[in-house]
Subunit: 380 residues, 2 copies
């Protein structure tokens, strides 16, 4: 199996990730922060290490403002529902995922309105358009760092500057970029950073995260046992406890630690270079292929190695099915939970066949994908 | 290390659980329900298998009403906030955990009131007291199947009958009993069943669950990508998608499957017998020990193998610390996230030293605990 679905979840993971999870499960899987015995303390240290690693990776100002969640969707719900108030206005781009679009849709019921700033057909946004959308009641600008459909990289540094200048808070979805592209909460003026552990951070599914700055406060979304202030029926006010209730996914967090340690060892820029090289090689071939439509900017500095294509007018699911069953190549077809993005790039009906390259892909993988696409394009 | 903290999280796990997680991670960790390729489909089958196993275990009427969550606290928040409406009245017992008490406290802000039905000093509830607390606006009775502090088993069959008779919905917290004690949603008239995967179901931390009956509906708590109806910005109405957004903890769910399969192989009644035997042996010794106070019913049919004790008036943390550091015995001290329960059994200040027995404990473990307690009690 040649795996090109890294934007959905990365596979394989570094060997250390497998070992870290297994080691946690077999040797010290106590409940962290719930008791004083050795296993519980050791388990607690895993969570602390993860907070430190995440904090260093994204330059988060305070460790207690790194919160672990179920997934990026969970993080969005915690941040949006805990920060926004009735009457608030939010600006998002037209390349956003349903993980933010759907909670915002449901928040319309309590009087929170959303403006969708249109991107061009490559998924590129105009920073001026965003600035022009700011109103008196704008509380938040939220954009993805890179589209999960077309790979388009958003100018988050510029958008952050605009947000700060206009005294509006800034939220970034780093689900597609964390661990490969630089994300710095301080220099980029990011107030809320959403990430997931199981994509380019190499952790297992089941761990997401939310980092937030010292200028914002988030009301609790999920109250419950925290192992702290246990005498009180009221959710503790302190972070991260206010936002982390119940037993965390400690084996998952142990895996995430190993994933981030792997990135630090290899070097983020080396990972990026490798992926960019494969991306550029693949894109060049695709652009010269008959019947193949390629979406997105198609330039390495403007696009992550997430490549959406179609062959003629054939349904994307059909092509993905042939790639899987006939060539043992895993891609994702359809809408990728992002109808806004497909509307923007003009593929709402056809969907796209998405090749998302990961660190463990090789030039050989790309060659096989190209061969397969040649064969399919010739036959259909 | 002798581990007596199984009520916080079970340890060790069956070998098959370790293998299932590692096998998932290494061999087929696709994102379930997000694509049509082999790894994604194989991953999706794990989730389906888990739904079937859970549904069989608890006699859930429809598979799509088995929902996976981050933990039991998450399940409580989803069920309570998605079901209750302003003006509703809820009855809980005075042995409940903060995982339900804290969300209900926060729901007071939107006009949901809670009555706490007092239990006696052993943590036992009067079914009549519950029935007497029912008012015109009572929407829900929620009780734990067994206390995480004193082990007290609640008469959920009788309470379920009372609830049905009075046309009130019934919620049961099976965090301490799932996999060891019978839980049957149909015969017990349970409308909402909360469970966690990482205790007596032998799964890893990071997976909880919620099962609910066909007579109730739950509004979405967390909207986002579901891999279904991706063209719409509105959260899908169908279950389980309505309540399951974002990538699930699939490796955790794979581990949970292995845990439940282990229970089915060994037999729930064999697991229970083994634990009851150790419980009875331990309790008898404890009741005859100088200076040792034992809480709860102290009878196997009325109590799970969760045993709370104190030695004289010494702080529970001090005893747990000595047990850990001097005897390599892991217990949990303090309030166990259940201040209501400690108020009920009279230990709000001292807390308790909690020994929670699991299937992998042996008579030898109990003997060592007894020896240690003799030594400590003699010296303090």
């Amino acid at each position: 199996m040649i795996y090109f679905d890294n934007a959905a979840t990365s596979f394989p993971k570094p060997e250390d990730v497998y070992l870290a999870i297994d080691n946690f499960m077999r040797n010290y899987c106590g409940n962290p922060g719930r008791a004083g015995h050795k296993l519980s303390l050791q388990s607690g240290r895993v969570i602390l290490e993860a907070r430190e690693l995440v904090s260093n990776l994204f330059n988060v100002k305070s460790l207690e403002r790194v919160v672990f969640t179920l997934n990026a969707t969970d993080s969005f719900n915690i941040a949006l529902k805990g920060y926004l108030k009735p009457g608030d206005h939010v600006i998002i781009s037209s390349m956003e995922h349903n993980s933010i679009a759907r909670p915002l849709k449901s928040l319309e019921n309590i009087g929170i309105e959303t403006t969708i700033a249109d991107c061009n057909i490559k998924g590129e946004i105009s920073v001026l358009d965003i600035e022009r959308s700011i109103k008196k009641n704008t509380a938040l600008i939220a954009v993805t760092h890179a589209s999960n459909v077309a790979g388009t990289i958003m100018p988050i540094m510029e958008i952050g500057r605009i947000a700060r200048k206009n005294n509006v808070k800034f939220m970034v979805d780093a689900a597609q970029t964390a661990g490969v592209y630089d994300v710095d909460m301080q220099t980029m003026n990011i107030d809320f950073l959403i990430f997931t552990g199981h994509k380019s951070l190499f952790g297992p599914q089941g761990v997401g995260g939310l980092c937030f700055g010292e200028e914002v406060d988030i009301v609790s979304f999920r109250e419950g046992g925290t192992g702290s202030r246990s005498e009180s029926l009221i959710q503790p006010d302190i972070y991260p406890d206010r936002l982390e209730s119940g037993t965390p996914n400690t084996p998952g967090i142990a895996g995430l630690c190993a994933g981030i340690n792997f990135i630090n060892k290899v070097g983020m820029s080396n990972i990026r270079s490798h992926e960019e090289e494969l991306f550029s090689y693949f894109i060049e071939k695709l652009l010269n292929m008959d019947k193949v439509k390629v979406y997105g900017p198609c330039v390495k500095n403007k696009q992550t190695p997430v490549i959406s294509i179609n062959i003629g007018d054939i349904g994307s699911s059909e092509i993905s099915y042939i790639l899987d069953s006939g060539f043992n190549i895993a891609t994702r077809s359809g809408l990728h939970c992002s109808p806004l993005a497909h509307q923007t790039i003009g593929t709402l009906e056809q969907g796209t066949v998405r090749f998302s390259i990961g660190y463990f892909n090789t030039k050989e993988d790309i060659n096989k994908a190209i061969e397969a696409l040649y064969t399919i394009a010739k036959e259909v």
